[in-house]
Amino acid sequence: MAFLRFVRRVVTAVTGAAMIAGVLRLRGQGGVPPQTGGWRELSGPDHS
């Protein structure tokens, strides 16, 4: 019985840790997009 209880606790701890790690890894976003500016194609002066 004591062994089974130990196994159950280990499984619970590992599952809990994996869930917390998963949430920490996947949540949020990587930053704030630029509020100004934009893309423009390279033209003549850019090639000098």
Binding site: L26, G30, G31, P33, Q35, G37, W39, R40, L42
Partner: protein, 322 residues
């Protein structure tokens, strides 16, 4: 000139279809599944073969990751130069390691002649000409080409990437280091993460004095969750639109400057355009450096970008951010 293309998937097939028949005497296609059909469609100047014949001048290697070093070694030993569309760390390392043998045999190996690596290095070298000093180069890419590119993307996200820091290589966990990267329209913004990409190995050769070189790829939550498992769903035939982005940080006339260049295109088509242009540059050049080198160190970046633009692969610059 006799040109062989090894691997006729999304990239190799596109190169074969778009290579003007007037520029080469014979095109040899090497691919177990697709070479016969493709050669028939292309006409009399193209033929299929089980392996690269010994009398070929240039071999374009567009085969799956992990196979390119052995193919390149075989090609230089039969007297051919190589243009390799390699993007995995193993392939890029292996191809660079052939430098001495390629020099001894008087052959050239162009390493990373695709969208990323390839165009990214040319962009970086071109942008560096606007700055007095470059100390950081950060590469990001989004999207995949054909099925093997998608498999490589999946594999790269589950394996450690390499950051270059003041001459040292630091392994960083794949899928870590989230950073929001802004790509040219219509791609827009994507969260990008570290991955096992070949770009830093080549960029560090171009900028050995740089303090930091990093590479990231865009990924979704599902990509990151499943990166360490086998691919459960077969990859798509083509991944659609993608993009690359190169950010240089450094100094110009005593003030800090950041230059960002990018390009948006379907990755397989873009890689084919870069490789095809590299072959043309190689054929037209009168004095080609022997050995194994990144694409950017073998071409004039300005001229190369102009040639790509005439073929529809446009480079853009991000401007105006505070």
């Amino acid at each position: 000139m006799r040109l062989a293309i090894v691997g006729c998937g999304a990239v190799g097939g596109s190169i074969a279809r778009r290579m003007p028949s007037g520029t080469i005497d014979q095109l040899i296609l090497v691919d177990q599944k697709r070479a016969d059909d493709l050669a028939t469609k292309l006409g009399s100047h193209a033929k299929s073969a089980a392996s690269v014949p010994p009398d070929v001048d240039v071999v374009v290697i567009a085969s799956r990751w992990g196979s390119q070093t052995a193919l390149a070694r075989q090609a230089i030993r039969t007297g051919a130069s190589v243009v390799a569309v390699a993007d995995s760390i193993e392939d890029v390392r292996g191809l660079l390691a052939l430098n001495v043998e390629a020099q001894e045999r008087g052959q050239t190996i162009v390493v990373g002649a695709g969208f990323s690596p390839g165009l990214t290095g040319v962009m970086a070298l071109h942008a560096s000409s606007w700055m007095s000093e470059v100390d950081e180069i950060h590469i990001a890419k989004v999207g995949t080409g054909g099925p093997w590119c998608a498999r490589q993307h999946h594999r790269a996200l589950g394996n450690p990437g390499l950051d270059y820091r003041r001459g040292a290589w630091i392994p960083r966990s794949g899928g870590s280091g989230r950073e929001l990267s802004w790509f040219p329209d219509p791609v827009g913004s994507h969260d990008c993460y570290r991955a096992a990409m070949g770009d830093p190995l080549l960029i560090a050769q171009l900028f050995p004095e740089a303090e930091r070189v990093t590479a990231r790829m865009a990924a979704t939550r599902r990509d990151r969750m499943t990166a360490r498992f086998p691919m459960f769903v077969p990859p798509h035939p083509d991944g659609g639109i993608g993009g690359v982005r190169v950010e240089l940080r450094g100094w110009t006339e005593g003030r800090r400057e950041i230059v960002v260049l990018g390009s948006a295109a379907p990755p397989a088509e873009a890689s084919a355009t870069v490789a095809m242009t590299a072959v043309h540059e190689f054929v037209e050049s009168t004095s080609v450096q022997t050995g194994s080198h990144p694409l950017a160190s073998l071409v004039d970046p300005q001229q190369f970008l102009r040639r790509l633009a005439t073929q529809g692969l446009q480079t853009e610059r991000f401007e105006g951010a505070q």
